[in-house]
Symmetry: C2
Amino acid sequence: MTKSSAAVRTPAVSEPNAREIKPGVVAFKRARILEEASALFYEKGYESATLEMLADRLSATKPFLYTYFKGKSAILSAICEAGVQESLAALDRIEEIERLPIDQLKASLREVAEIIVARHEYLVIYQREMMNLDRADAQRILRLRHEFDLRIGNLIENCVRDRSISVANAATMSVWMGGLLTWIIHCYRPGSKRSAEAVVDQAVEACLRLVGLA
Amino acid sequence: MTKSSAAVRTPAVSEPNAREIKPGVVAFKRARILEEASALFYEKGYESATLEMLADRLSATKPFLYTYFKGKSAILSAICEAGVQESLAALDRIEEIERLPIDQLKASLREVAEIIVARHEYLVIYQREMMNLDRADAQRILRLRHEFDLRIGNLIENCVRDRSISVANAATMSVWMGGLLTWIIHCYRPGSKRSAEAVVDQAVEACLRLVGLA
């Protein structure tokens, strides 16, 4: 989103050529479609929602939607995949920035908790509509979630190795950390009594308690 | 279920009168309907499932179903409510049996974890089909879940008071324990690689780690 809106704003300043602008515009339009689709699926449920309704909300046409997505099911899949994809990207980024395993683990848990808060709607839709995903999409997303667990398991393992924490089974703990992080969607929704920051703090603390920290 | 099957088996032994048998038979039939409805909703999704399909699976008729439930939505509500109702009943039972707060907490977590394993299908349906519940039913179930959190929070509070554990905020911890227990439905399904016992043990251990035990 940041990248794409930057690309949209750029022309006035530096006149980039069309080849530079296009990927940003495509990403921006895809993101807008997903945002509206998510609001629509969240309100009406996937099965009751139609591409006509979605096109209406975007003041666009069905053919416009088909330029960006194969169909309703591809939109659902992109929504369900976003949270875990962004989380994996965050883990990559943090691995570059933080040197100590314990700092990597802490920063990763915090960033993922923040992604889950920001993607509340997307994740509720994933939990609700999982069975409406195409089989191949559902399996691909499960593989990504499994990869996420493995990566968190490795971070825990590295902390155990340098003795900053002590747990018997890093892989198991990573699964329960995933559970705590996912539970955020039941503790927080935009406009809820608890603030997003408080819920993120609590979730990170709970994860660290699992491995004897905090 | 235990009560009702006992009632069904009793006649040969002690010839109870009709008034004794009837509540057991009603409970048994309701339970059978919920069992089949759960399997049906789990496979097909709530919206695609029909009362005709359900009656077929039970070799019964639609009027038979209406004797026990107002309609499809009442069946969904009973399925979604079962897990938390059974959990609250377990907490009542354990309060009678165990004296020490810490033993009450441990026994409660274990029994609830076992209920969640046993009610895997019901709880998956609750997560998926929440938005298909009648508003009043959805709110009633939320209140029950809230009551469950409060009761676990009280158990933690009692442990803090007698110094068997030390946590800053018992209420908050009870919410995250709820998250860990609910995560069981993603870690275990009948026939999965991990055994039910192993998952229950892990979940209880994870909950106790949250409050600095295990």
